[in-house]
């Protein structure tokens, strides 16, 4: 399912003294079965954009097309329920939304709300639990007796049980320890690779964006500052740094080292620590490789 925006605009509290333009002329395409990362600092419009992806917000200008659904500023929103089945959003700290007595009931709540019969919902709960890496034993447990990392997985399972085609993730690893973070990011990547889901990841982590995404959108002050592959995005790291954004650690180190040495150690920014190690090794062995 492709998502496409045309001159998308969003203004909070329009025509009031508190009017605030959050999105300005956004034109992006998120291709079918892709992994897209949205980066930008707080207030750049990332979260506002995200809320348009399943019709939580209606544009105040322009339009957004999500598969067959078109949401425009001048038309009343219709058929949103069907849309929301297809685009699942995992908000920040989704475990705060758990509420049922058992894990099974909690996961079933979403699908049953969309009219899935109980038997089917239970089957889906089992599958979803497997996808997030937890065994069936958890079904009968109270979600509130679980650890933070497990609760987050349950909340994500609740979204997966609705069988969305696109999974939108807002800072999904915030607050998790490093191991939990890696496990959850690998899980999303496998959902993308092995189960055909599209992923839209909103993140502060440039490492995650460059490691997992095949496409990155950089938001700045409500506009799209730049979009492209990780290599294209980080091609001019100084630009991003000037905007107050971070670059992956490997690139930051590379810039520092090149400044000290007075020469380039590689003809491109090194997106990972492995690439960087290679560049340093070849520099030490052969000198400049230009």
């Amino acid at each position: 399912m492709e998502i496409k925006t045309k001159h998308l605009e969003y203004t909070y509290q329009k025509n009031s003294p508190f009017e605030k333009r959050a999105l300005i002329d956004i034109n992006i395409t998120i291709p079918h079965h892709s992994y897209t990362a949205v980066i930008g600092h707080t207030g750049s419009g990332k979260s506002t954009l995200l809320q348009h992806l399943n019709g939580l917000l209606q544009p105040t200008g322009g339009e957004i097309q999500i598969g067959d659904f078109v949401i425009r500023s001048d038309k009343k929103k219709k058929g949103l329920k069907a849309l929301r089945k297809k685009v699942g959003i995992v908000f920040q700290f989704p475990e705060h939304q758990l509420f049922e007595e058992t894990v099974e009931k909690d996961i079933c709540f979403g699908p049953m709300n969309f009219g899935v019969p109980e038997q089917e919902a239970k089957l889906r709960a089992k599958e979803a639990l497997k996808l997030v890496g937890l065994s069936e034993e958890y079904l009968e447990r109270s979600p509130f007796d679980l650890s933070g990392g497990q609760m987050r997985r349950i909340a994500i399972a609740g979204v997966l049980a609705m069988q969305p085609e696109v999974l939108v993730l807002d800072e999904p690893t915030a607050g998790l320890d490093p191991r939990g973070r890696t496990e959850i990011m690998e899980m999303f990547y496998s959902l993308y690779k092995n189960y055909g889901l599209s992923i839209v990841l909103v993140t502060h982590s440039m490492e995650d964006a460059s490691k997992y995404a095949d496409y990155i959108i950089v938001m700045h002050k409500g506009s799209v500052y730049k979009h492209g592959t990780p290599r294209e995005i980080f091609d001019k790291p100084e630009e991003l740094i000037k905007l107050g954004l971070d670059v992956p650690e490997s690139i930051r180190f590379q810039l520092k080292l090149e400044k000290r040495l007075g020469i380039q150690i590689s003809d491109q920014p090194n997106l990972s620590i492995e690439e960087l190690t290679e560049s340093i090794l070849s520099y030490l062995k052969w000198g400049v490789t230009q």
Binding site: H41, P178, T277, L284
Partner: protein, 279 residues
């Protein structure tokens, strides 16, 4: 720096009588004026330590001393005056409608006279470099700014100890370094004791000393350079290795004998530069 300001003596705690111990026979000290980082995986007991320190929870076994006061129901309010806490989510700790109202809130609760209150609010906001935001609404601030205001609210009450409980984990990299820079300066200028509870090892690297928690026990204690030498062991504990340490390891694995105790990027840059001169 050898004055103990916090002491945990054989402290055990569990949330429920049939739950496993969240803290099991934990002993450690914090010295006045130091920055101590407590790191550990989710559920290792680090946040429980924070809650015990200011009497939000009480130990089942063992004793806790804060500034030589033994933590007890009677003294809990005196102890809370010594400790300021900043939590994870900047949006959950605002009560005022403007930045200065928010900082004044705690002072009002303490019945501080208006004139002194105004002075303290201004001073605290100056200390965290937020003087230009007195009348701003908190929700218009960035995450880093919000956390700095939260720190100011705590500072205005003049505590001896500030506990940062995952206080930077929801911030973007810029916000994180804003907050940590302010904390470093406060520690230096105001001689505050800082306890930061975190699983961000880059944040821990800024501390004077690190305690590693694992499954409710103190696993290791040491200087950042000693802790980061633990290498793979940290990963087994659910943590990570700082970037520079990883890079050193990669180069060592390829036959370059780079000293393991290079922990900081600038030193590694220098080392590589020198290495090339000598080849």
């Amino acid at each position: 720096m050898n004055n103990q300001i916090v002491q945990f003596k054989n402290v055990s705690f569990r949330y429920d009588t049939d739950a496993p111990y969240a803290l099991n026979n934990v002993s450690f000290e914090v010295f006045e004026g130091e920055w101590l980082a407590i790191v550990g995986h989710n559920g290792s007991g680090k946040s429980t330590i924070a809650k015990l320190m200011n009497g939000l929870l009480f130990p089942e076994k063992g004793d806790i001393y804060i500034h030589h006061l033994k933590l007890s129901e009677e003294l809990v309010w005196d102890i809370r005056d010594l400790i300021g806490m900043v939590f994870q989510n900047p949006d959950n700790q605002f009560v005022g409608t403007t930045v200065q109202d928010d900082v004044a809130f705690g002072l009002e609760n303490h019945g501080i006279p208006r004139k002194e209150m105004i002075e303290r609010v201004h001073e605290a906001l100056r200390q965290v470099k937020m003087s230009n935001f007195l009348d701003q609404e908190p929700h218009h601030l960035s995450g880093g700014q919000k956390q700095r205001v939260a720190i100011a609210s705590v500072l205005a009450l003049r505590p001896r100890i500030i506990i940062l409980d995952e206080a930077t984990s929801m911030l973007d990299p810029r916000g994180r370094s804003e907050v940590l820079d302010v904390v470093r300066e406060l520690k230096k200028k105001e001689k505050l004791t800082i306890i930061s509870i975190t699983h961000d090892l880059e944040e821990a690297a800024r501390a004077d000393r690190i305690i590693v928690m694992n499954r409710g026990e103190v696993y290791r204690e040491g200087l950042p350079e000693d802790i980061f030498k633990m290498d793979e062991e940290l990963i087994r504990l659910g943590l990570d290795i700082p970037f520079t340490t990883k890079l050193v390891k990669g180069l060592r694995d390829n036959g370059y004998d780079i000293p393991k105790d290079i922990l900081n990027e600038d030193k590694l840059v220098d080392y590589i530069w020198k290495l090339k001169q000598n080849i």
